[in-house]
Symmetry: D2
Subunit: 286 residues, 4 copies
């Protein structure tokens, strides 16, 4: 949506009348509901929804609209979130050696596919510096090997805070994040894992895939939690492979899966199309 | 939905407040909205929606609910349709020689994937009689070759009327339907075409595909209109092929596309997940 | 190949000149090499090949041709296998409750897609009896629960021996085979597992997939070894799913993956397009 | 293959003994056949093959090996082609406005996926100049609108000749090539068309696709002939779309198809994995 607007995401216990009340609230203030996605999870008696609203014609200010919603949200026992549009999410990208996911993010951002403002590229190796700097972005090389891990992540936190980063994208970042870091940025870290999770968790998934002789390889974009490669999945891509593909071929073919999965994952997140629900993610894809 | 319920499909000029009003009407009568799909077509200023409603707790009868909606629908300048659930759609399947699509329909109906009541199998060849009769269904062999076309389709109409058929599925039926037949059953005839339309319209699409050397073949499930293979598309499936696949291999590999596409197409139609909009079909897939 | 012919499968240490010598041997006896697939596995210095040969014009008998090859095979330090065409492989299908894979096998066999001779259907539940008997096949109900497992598998062995079964297909057979049974029929048992292996090994993979929130589900056709769900993979199929798909929807959507994967797996095996290489399978797919 | 070697492509009337003789010739000179792909087209009685040979251990020079093959090739009534490895094909990329295909080619070339030497970027608009020059490549802006078409293509020919270009890639180049240009560079021009050919030939295929309401969009990489969008197809990619995708969404989603299809198409061509056979292309994909 290029016009001014709002996105409302909502999660609450399932109950009759939610859509009527929320849509009624929007209509009452002359908001224009342009897209509505909802999911009634009958297994768990939970309700999830995303409302995309054009606001220029509203009879109240956006601030009043948002604050006025509180009583209804509370009555639903809901958690909810409003986002004002247009919006560019402040995003830091963390990398190690390979740059194909970083390149893809830069390229799609340039095309307008990803409404993000990239604040900085943070690497624990220097390999991606050139790509970052060619794109006019600052590159922070942070040593976080061995004993420097704690101080390194301290530095990273400082950068993220100074730059008011809202989203951290691990674009083939090959270090395990500290638990407290995962906890503090819960729901705001997106990773790309180069396998079709939950197959091949951990290191060298393409080598594992080759040894196991799978006929499809994949990549998984997911939210990061303290449990390795186990956070809510946003998007997965697969590609057919054959016996003659060596591990190096899987690396080559897998890059495509990784690039697509991370780009879609970021897009869904920054468009507020994802709602985390325990170990799963609701994704109202577009 | 296995409980008692209603599906409401609605098309109207786009305007603010539709969802609020319809959902409000449902809530007001204590209906429970379990699924809502909507599409605001900003290019054409049209609105499309499907509401799935549990009715057991309603404060009015279903009849009253439906008739009470009329004033609102008229105010929207809408066309709309209600379906009571549970429902089995009375369906005739028309065939010629090959039986793989027929088999798939019978098999999925048996599994409960397709809520249809198959009234009869109608063939212009006798090949599928055995499959039909093994399944306990009556098989009508109707001669509609050459000069017998008009009388043949007259007989078919009689069968369809006597059996109160609501949906006609052309499951690899290899005759072109008369224009008036297409018109009279508009929106109620589903065909499977064995190509990825609009490529390879007409006869022998696999042979055409082989000659053209395409790298993917496909099948298209679509509503039938008087223009050959040009009706609104409901579902398409593709399969990768290579140079060594002879036309007979394309036939073999294409069967899978055909079976899946027709089964999904029927499912979407009988679940009221499709809305025809000129030459296109809105499909709220599940 | 519908004409008379031979398939030669060959595995040996990689070395120059193998293709020249084998193709030379075929040409020398006026065999016609109609298809050749080879794979030089440079990582492991191994060579694998499949030769499909028309034999009607040969200057020697097929028996002489086969026995004459021995010296060359030995010189390569190869293992090899000849199959005379046309051939129908004697195949037993083992089932439990669900019949969709069995149905698919029967259906594709009828169409000529799978050159098998189904000797019998063996079930540890009675559910598939009707499908078997409608198809004119004998159905053996064998109790192999709890204490009856050993005697049950004894009975099965007797049936397999009497009927000279060459291939055992586990078409959603829900019992773990005894280790000695796996060993004795090594390379001759094909299973369909209803997940994208190695994800979701063991019971209830669709339930596991739902809990994990994956965005693609799959099915895996593989050779059976004594290690559960870990044998060489022949074929894998996937299907995209979303958050609103309940476990019962995954079961429904997964059936398609299962049907396709098992049908392709059987086809590749009976056409001698697979070569087992440790934990992996070379598959010269068609 | 990173070692020194040869690729032999061969087309001839089908006849017994071809593989034996060619493989025999290679073995006789101690060449090492590392990959062999063949296709016996029984419908047209034609034989196609690709031999990949390591040459360091050969008993003759590569020149002698190649010239010595002539008698055999003639005896087969074959057309054939040898390529010495390692090889980088001299490639010109022609563009108009959009740069996503160009970017992809540059990116994959940098990664070593495409063994090409990009000689220059030629545009009929100036939009891609920056991308070209950032990559250190010369950019030629050539006016070929209206009356300048003939002189423009004259200039292009001069550039191609001076730079000894072997492959011309049309990376979303939006002009129709003159017939004589197509003829003179026959088999050496690769185009990406942004539809699933033969559907939506010509201009604005995404708009056409939207109007037709297709459920999958695609892209086609093909050799260019004087008949518009009708040359032999090398690769095709598809992506699923829904009713809510506006033409601008199809453009966005289609970019992925285009990027993958053109990258694969170039890779197959420069690895000599394609053989043109009339209106079709044999593709021994890897």
């Amino acid at each position: 949506m290029s016009r001014e607007g709002l996105i409302l995401k909502l999660t609450c216990p399932d109950q009759p009348g939610i859509v009527a009340k929320v849509a009624g609230y929007i209509a009452e203030h002359q908001g224009n509901l342009v897209e509505l996605n909802q999911f009634s999870d009958s297994l768990n008696a939970k309700f999830f929804a995303r409302f995309e609203i054009e606001t220029p014609g509203m009879t109240v200010s956006v601030d009043e609209f948002i604050s006025g919603f509180g009583a209804m949200g509370d009555a639903f026992m809901a958690t909810w979130h409003f986002r004002r549009l247009p919006y560019k999410m402040r995003t830091a990208v963390m990398v190690t050696k390979t740059d194909h996911c970083l390149n893809e993010i830069l390229w799609r951002t340039g095309l307008g596919e990803l409404p993000v403002e990239i604040t900085s590229i943070i690497g624990n190796r220097d390999n991606c510096r050139e790509v970052a700097e060619k794109a006019g972005l600052s590159f922070h090389l942070i040593d976080m090997d061995g004993d420097n891990k704690e101080s390194g992540f301290g530095e990273i936190r400082k950068i993220l805070e100074e730059q008011q980063v809202e989203l951290i994208v691990l674009a083939r970042f090959m270090q395990i994040l500290p638990d407290d870091f995962c906890a503090d940025y819960s729901g705001r870290i997106i990773n790309i894992h180069h396998s079709f999770l939950p197959a091949f968790i951990g290191a060298s998934p393409y080598k594992q895939a080759h040894e196991r002789g799978v006929k499809l390889i994949g990549a998984t974009c997911h939210y990061v939690t303290s449990e390795l490669d186990a956070g809510p999945i946003i998007e997965q891509e697969v590609e057919r492979v054959q016996h003659f593909h060596a591990p190096s071929d899987l690396v080559r073919l897998g890059r495509n899966c990784e690039r697509n999965a991370i780009a879609k994952g970021i897009r869904y997140h920054v468009h507020d199309r994802t709602i985390i629900d325990g170990k799963r993610a609701i994704v109202f894809s577009d």
